[in-house]
Symmetry: none
Subunit: 227 residues, 2 copies
Amino acid sequence: MEWENQEMQQADEYLLYQTQNLVCGKVMTDEQVEQLRRQIVAYAAISEQLAELHKSISVHHDFTGIRLGNLYRDPISCVGHKITARQRWTPTALQLQILENIYEQGTGTTGKQKIKEIASELAQHGQISETNAYNWFQNRRARSKRKLQASSGSGNGEPEARSEDVGTKDQRTKPVSSDLVNNIANGVESFYFQNSDTGIDQLIGKVESSRGYDSYTNLVEQYGLLG
Amino acid sequence: MEWENQEMQQADEYLLYQTQNLVCGKVMTDEQVEQLRRQIVAYAAISEQLAELHKSISVHHDFTGIRLGNLYRDPISCVGHKITARQRWTPTALQLQILENIYEQGTGTTGKQKIKEIASELAQHGQISETNAYNWFQNRRARSKRKLQASSGSGNGEPEARSEDVGTKDQRTKPVSSDLVNNIANGVESFYFQNSDTGIDQLIGKVESSRGYDSYTNLVEQYGLLG
DNA sequence: GTAATATGAATGAAGG
DNA sequence: CCTTCATTCATATTAC
């Protein structure tokens, strides 16, 4: 009901879109916005959870004098200590990110040589074999395709929640302590640098043109997140 | 700085409105883009650093058997995975009966065509998609098989572990009851879920210079310095 | 409430 | 490439 004058606002939005697009605005597709949104929220969540975890653990340890930046350069993975309990390979977060990026660029990832390259690149971020990479792309393609098929197939095909469950449990906005995340975000602004030429596209990962590396892109690249 | 529920819901509606009605894309000012950039980079860096920090810490702790793999998994990259999780299909009683019947007859329930038929038949008795049917048979087969294995493996009525633990070798993780770490992964997920409807505007507008540093934020500052 | 279980779905891998 | 399996994840439900 807040948006009963929907159409007006829509028009406004459109005007805004046009204006800003022409002048100074960046236009993002809804998909891009969605992706960005998810990314931010996810990082926020991870940050918060890890922070909490660390906080609780650090009570029992003295980290005085430990340099956090370079002590543990090992890529994030469950490999390397006894956490390892799985036989099946699972991509680390970094690896996954890279894989997704490569996949999105859609280049011929099927080539054997290409796989080799990718695998060796990914090996820097954790345990991986060429077969793993190969399988990943294979599955990714197949499942992406299947999902597409399924969604286009029928109008009623979309699985929905049980009719009984709908609308009964709506209180999913549980109070999450966002203060910590806020502080984190604020405290780290020194991570940020000021090259405004870097487009938003780079953040989303659809970069085609690689420009000069500034600190920011270096950072992004270093963490293998989006570039 | 706390997000009020009301605000969040409001943001939800707004985002919904935008997503559904704004066809042409979302416009962001340069400033907003800028801020987004900061936030993503900051979160990315923090997430990574914290993850590594935690990993190193966990060496000194005995987390035996706790699988942390998913903790480090970027929810973003789990495309189509968790996002749809909250609308899980459940067969109606009638559907279930039919499914069981078909399964018992044991005939080629596997064919893709067969699945299609079954699904369309079941659709007369309630919501269902082909994928649902497919999964059902998949799970039914697997679990039936596993149960069979378990019962044949040991002649005694030994109390078994969780049904899913049966039949695997030892490197498995035992269900650890109450550990902080145990819930981290879930926590991340649910955070992500519960907040995935939060509007991006809120995220953008969230960065303000509130320096309410808690003890932990010192860490963050260290990161900042290292950057 | 907490722990155990049931179960839909995701996913790495194998077979064709 | 496709299908299928084995395992794992996440959550709803149930039992205590």
